[in-house]
Symmetry: C2
Subunit: 422 residues, 2 copies
Amino acid sequence: MYDLTPVFVSLKKAQALLALENRSRKDKALEAAAAAINADRKLILGANAADVTKAKSGGMTEALIDRLLLSDQRIDDIISGIETVIRLEDPIGKVLSGWTLPNGLLVEKLTVPLGVAAIIYESRPNVTADAFSLAYKSGCGILLRGSSAALESNRALVKAIRRGLAEGGGIPDAVNLADSGSRDEVDLILNARGFIDVVIPRGGRELIRRVVDNAKVPVIETGEGNCHIYVEQSADMKNAAKIIANAKLQKPGACNAVETVLVHREALSSLMPLLAEELAGKAELRCDGPSKAAIAGKNGTPGLNIKDAVEEDWATEFLDYILAVKTVDSVDEAIDHINRYGTKHSEAILTADLRTADEFCRRVDAACVYTNASTRFTDGGEFGFGAELGISTQKFHARGPMGLVALTTIKYRISGRGQIRE
Amino acid sequence: MYDLTPVFVSLKKAQALLALENRSRKDKALEAAAAAINADRKLILGANAADVTKAKSGGMTEALIDRLLLSDQRIDDIISGIETVIRLEDPIGKVLSGWTLPNGLLVEKLTVPLGVAAIIYESRPNVTADAFSLAYKSGCGILLRGSSAALESNRALVKAIRRGLAEGGGIPDAVNLADSGSRDEVDLILNARGFIDVVIPRGGRELIRRVVDNAKVPVIETGEGNCHIYVEQSADMKNAAKIIANAKLQKPGACNAVETVLVHREALSSLMPLLAEELAGKAELRCDGPSKAAIAGKNGTPGLNIKDAVEEDWATEFLDYILAVKTVDSVDEAIDHINRYGTKHSEAILTADLRTADEFCRRVDAACVYTNASTRFTDGGEFGFGAELGISTQKFHARGPMGLVALTTIKYRISGRGQIRE
């Protein structure tokens, strides 16, 4: 069996050193890594071209090839992502709170690096650089396990990053790529207690399930987003139709795209015709009876595609140009539906009514709850976190878009003058 | 097989309601629960007497029977523990941070309850009340799974608590006892994904291992404490001997008691004779060669019990009147030893040297790092958290003594005026 132990040991040692680096040394190393990626641009694009050729001959879909593909522009974006992380405050060494005990002991709660993180991800090579830069800035080691389809691209990127770190006085061994291509590798990572402090799966539902079910190390679940928008009767319906269209169409493959719209019965007649117009020719509607009836008058609209919704649709993250529509009789019913079928990712209410908005925000159990906005803003970049490690859909340790803070933990520092316990 | 599903469902429903309760309603319910425990004092003591009789006839050790035993005083302590929690600030609904995005969206990060917690614990019935009161105050449901030895005591306590909650306008179903006595129960709890948001094992190493190895729900590991005190040559040696004696003798069965003392070679001759005097007749010393040689002159001291340390001693949490002593040549060697054998619980340095203290605090990887004090202060009560759920030895989600904050998570509330993503 393939053995990752030497990699684990070297990451752990390097992380212990990285934990002691101050901000200016970390930023300098990150700058050098960005410069090395820039310098290796041709090598990286060449490696990526090899990956793409192999993927095409293997019959990969266009959409997936687009995720895999690098270009000069995308390398520029990778570099500017690292530069954004450089500008972020150091998350380490913050005194979150502090107090003095009755006996005079001073207790301080400080932020420290979480340790070594592993990220298991699918095609996109930009995740390689994002995860590295966030981990490095937060003083964490990182083990990258990309998909085999992106192997050459990731090798070239990690090679450049490690060389850059060495040139910039940084700690190259704090980042490593698991590149055997073997499936065993994932199992080794999931069982590496004492070496890996957290594993973050980033990809499809199947990957995430596999990791959650098998990991003996802590996991942060990410990315499954069955998101809803609830339209209440007091909402501005023209605006509502535009927000829904944005949340569905702007990037249907994103986890923060809307999948089901819940419409108050009294909003059906005003919202549904506008929504049908917005989506005609752009997305399929899967309607329940009352919402379908409300657009019967639109049946001749070119491109309008209406199907009957089935129970399964409420539980489906389509990740496609498909929108389910369900009628509800109250905000309570909307909240119950969301708490039953949602994945605790991003949920929105469109309303002019303060009390209903408040009810919704308080009772919907999700990482991000919106009033009068598109769900598409749940994103580390949009939130101002710089890059993101993913979007946590769990409540434990990290929730919502994960930036630097997700890779920190705390340490209590207690300073005394000989105190003993009576 | 025993089925806990109805209990899980009822806890989840109750927690959704409890999450919406404000502080004054939660405090009122807690007061009523404390009053009910007081009113049921005789019933509780009677149930406990039955547990104790059974334990004695089953051959339970005196030390364990003492942990199981309730008395009027201990019931008073349980009640005053609840009163302390009532006085604590509400951990829910805090706005931890908030900012406005370039497009005008307001993002606020709020604290919300983690959900439903389960605690699996050994004999002590006071944990029943501590865990309940912390969970209730933080808006969490709690499933209590005590040991079978304390079954009648826990039943009587939980019955009083639930009646009190009902009388105080609270939510009785937010607390429940898993009381079938079946071992299946633990497995059901460990697999209750979607119902149990965290499980906290509180007890011996074996229990904690079993939970960590088998849980499909998030776990917080607690309580394993192989703690060290490092004595540097600049320390006040009289003080040092007293601090070590306190950390060893005051409660040797506690997880924050010291197990190994690391002594700088240059401190041996001044520290060891004083330490031998402090511990003679009170604790066994397991010394390496140089530390043993340093107390050769004390060999006639009545009660002095010195054995040769073996490798295994460095890795052992004695939980007994035994102290291992090892000689080191530098703070580096002390730190390496601690990071290798320690359990990331509580570690101390005794020194007058600022730079060494700083090195130690920065490089030792533990929840609590002390300068010039006994390790025995790592405790929710001592830290001012009121009761405690346990002491986390992991870095994920919660670290160190766990009070109310360990049972919270966050939610982003995003308020817009029709924003869509461009």
